[in-house]
């Protein structure tokens, strides 16, 4: 896969430690099982509205989740369950929000597309394409101004590179040398339209990096180690005052764009080919090659599944939000009054 090679791989690849590897696997398992559970809950009509799963893309959220510092900032899209969980947000809070329960991260007010957990640095999931790129720049600016060496990481899709806010955010961040990492998860599609049919260049992010004086970086988004290493480099650069990084991670979503989408627009065989590169079994194999024994893996898998079962049970047991909540939290005083 030539497209997944890192283009400017001048630095010799450092090693990923074995504890980090276990952590990467653990996280990918949790993200995978939780997303699958979200899918099941849909089918049971316990989740309403829409929802955008990142089944198949977990290595990216995991790689960054492990590389980031606890006080770093994450900015997600509507396809943000994995990125939110990867920062340590409560799984009950995530599933509860999808189910519209009181225990939800947002008490049922935001829904699947807006997961947020400020306490864990998840500064929001944004459902209008492009908006969160400049906002991430702002969080990075704040960190820079306050001198905290925090970094902001902003995830978005290939389709997002064609909207104006992408361009403004990239230029702005470079000019102000902001500690922000932009991560384009190129899963080959917008909603149902192939990205190649609406984009002037092959790599929608990497081929545009030079327009902002940045190096072109493409990484295998299905290899958690590769993502982790790239993330570590970019975060170190940000903390050292070196400014932003733009990374294009090649990946694929296993399910449709959203709940309503059976994904029929994909050419035959494409999904199968990518399923062969499914990041979770792929990473399991790597661990085995690195000498991790089957029992350890199995117990990690059981533990992750147990966590999902527990969270599901918690969320199901949670009450519905109260109708009184409608009149709460528009303003900092807790209320919604626009008049005296």
């Amino acid at each position: 896969m030539s497209t997944t090679a890192r283009k400017n791989a001048a630095t010799p690849a450092p090693e990923v430690g074995s504890e980090t590897r276990l952590e990467l696997y653990r996280l990918q398992l949790e993200l995978r099982y939780c997303e699958k559970r979200a899918y099941d809950l849909f089918l049971q009509n316990l989740i309403k509205g829409t929802s955008h799963l990142s089944l198949g893309q977990e290595a990216i959220a995991a790689g960054f989740g492990v590389a980031m510092r606890p006080d770093d900032y994450t900015f997600c899209t509507y396809r943000g369950h994995a990125h939110t969980l990867a920062r340590g947000a409560s799984m009950t809070g995530v599933l509860g929000e999808l189910m519209g329960r009181q225990c939800g991260l947002l008490g049922g007010k935001g829904g699947s597309m807006h997961l947020t957990d400020v306490a864990h640095g998840v500064m929001g999931s944004y459902a209008i394409i492009g908006a969160h790129l400049p906002i991430a720049a702002g969080a990075a600016w704040s960190a820079q101004y306050r001198g905290t060496q925090q970094a902001a990481v902003c995830f978005f899709g290939d389709g997002t590179t064609n909207i104006g806010a992408f361009h403004e955010a990239l230029n702005f961040s470079v000019v102000w040398k902001l500690p922000v990492v932009y991560v384009c998860e190129n899963n080959l599609y917008m909603e149902y339209t192939p990205i190649s049919s609406v984009t002037a260049v092959e790599h929608p992010a990497a081929d545009r990096a030079s327009a902002y004086g940045l190096p072109s970086i493409v990484v295998d988004g299905n290899d958690a180690d590769a993502v982790y290493l790239e993330a570590s480099r970019a975060l170190a650069k940000a903390r050292a005052g070196g400014g932003p990084t733009l990374i294009e991670a090649m990946t694929y979503r296993h399910s449709g764009h959203s709940r309503a989408d059976p994904g029929k627009y994909r050419p035959p065989g494409e999904l199968d080919a990518w399923l062969k590169r499914d990041p979770v079994p792929f990473y399991r194999q790597r661990l085995i090659e690195h000498g991790v024994d089957e029992r350890t893996l199995k117990s990690m898998e059981d533990e992750a599944m147990g966590k999902v079962e527990q969270a599901t049970a918690n969320a199901k047991a949670s009450a519905l939000p109260s109708v009184d909540d409608i009149e709460k939290n528009l303003w900092s005083d807790g209320g919604v009054a626009w008049r005296n």
């Binding site: 309403k48 509205g49 829409t50 519209g100 329960r101 939800g104 049922g108 007010k109 935001g110 829904g111 699947s112 597309m113 807006h114 944004y126 459902a127 209008i128 394409i129 492009g130 389709g159 997002t160 064609n162 909207i163 104006g164 806010a165 917008m190 909603e191 149902y192 339209t193 049919s197 609406v198 984009t199 309503a260 627009y265 519905l320 939000p321 109708v323 909540d325 409608i326 009149e327 528009l330 919604v336 626009w338």
Partner: protein, 325 residues
């Protein structure tokens, strides 16, 4: 007359106009090969080909800008903005460019285009995919604004919008896409700027739009049957031009005005109508003007919360009973 869904009436209206006029072209995100995320434009690319029905990148400014450039040079584009909330990313194109071009150039520039969009709540999509933003468009001079409540109106008003020589913002209420109704067969064109009186009463005139028309009708039914309150229901259909004649005369008959708006309260279209009535129909009023709106908050996503935030038939009944007596 065939029975069509509101969604299918969209495709029928577009197809009718594309058939008639080679200069009608259609563009948007995921509208062609996928037939639209609400499946409202299925079959158009097969029928009219990829030069007239075009998938676009996620570039709303480019989409609306392209429609504008095409309109001023002889085409009659229909552009789709997937959710009306996304007007915000191309608002400059709509409010500052398209709306003002003809006036600023003293009539030199023609702007025959239609921007279609899925508007409104009720789908548990959360605050950024559920707004009712008819007032965003209504407040900008130079835009015509239409919001149908029934499949027949979708087809007829969409056709009228395409034929109109001025820019029309066409709001499709997403909670109505699966609503079925009789739609005239064959070529069918309605007229912009005409409200419809759907029900005659004597105690009160309820003025509503889009999804709220159905709730107003349901409430009027209950009020009549269970509480002996008889209401006129007016479907505004077109905010610009606004059929003030119908509204004023219907309010004059009952002496009371109630607006039912899906939008959050402040500066909704109901405020404008209330202010017109409070001026021109003041002496015919028998009591206060009542506005029933979504409270002035973003729309929450959980079923229960969303349902209790938007005006329901029950709430209309409750408020009218409390305030009309």
């Amino acid at each position: 007359m065939a029975e069509l869904t509101y969604r299918d009436a969209v495709a029928a209206g577009i197809a009718q106009e594309m058939e008639r006029d080679q200069n009608v072209v259609f563009l948007g995100e995921d509208v062609a090969h996928a037939g639209g995320v609400f499946k409202a434009t299925v079959g158009l690319i097969e029928r009219f080909g990829p030069l007239r029905v075009r998938d676009c990148p996620i570039s709303e400014q480019a989409i609306i800008g392209a429609a504008m450039g095409a309109a001023m040079t002889g085409l009659r584009p229909i552009a789709e903005i997937m959710f009306s909330d996304f007007f915000a990313v191309c608002w400059d194109m709509i409010a500052n460019e398209i709306a003002k071009a003809r006036y600023m150039t003293n009539g030199q520039m023609a702007m025959p285009l239609v921007i279609r969009t899925a508007n409104g709540g009720g789908s548990r999509f959360g605050a950024q995919h559920s707004q009712s933003v008819e007032n965003w468009a209504m407040m900008i001079p130079g835009l015509k604004v239409v919001a149908p409540a029934f499949p027949a109106d979708v087809k007829g008003l969409l056709a009228a919008a395409v034929r109109d020589p001025d820019p029309v913002i066409f709001f499709e209420q997403k909670s109505l896409y699966s609503l079925k109704g009789e739609v005239p067969d064959g070529e069918y064109v309605d007229e912009l700027g005409k409200a419809k009186v759907l029900r005659h009463g004597k105690d009160c005139t309820i003025v509503a739009l889009a999804a709220m028309v159905h709730r107003a009708l349901e409430a009027a039914e209950v009020l009549e049957r269970e509480h002996g309150i008889s209401c006129t229901v007016v479907d505004v259909r077109s905010l610009v031009p606004l059929d003030t004649q119908t509204i004023l005369s219907e309010v004059a008959k009952t002496g009371r005005l109630v607006t039912v708006e899906e939008n959050p309260r402040l500066c909704g279209w109901g405020a404008e109508i209330a202010s017109i009535v409070a001026d021109e129909c003041f002496w015919e009023l028998d009591g206060p003007i009542i506005r029933i709106t979504t409270p002035h908050v973003p729309l929450p996503s959980a079923d229960l919360l969303e349902d209790h935030t938007m005006p329901s038939a029950e709430r209309i009944v409750r408020e009218l009973r409390a305030k009309l007596d």
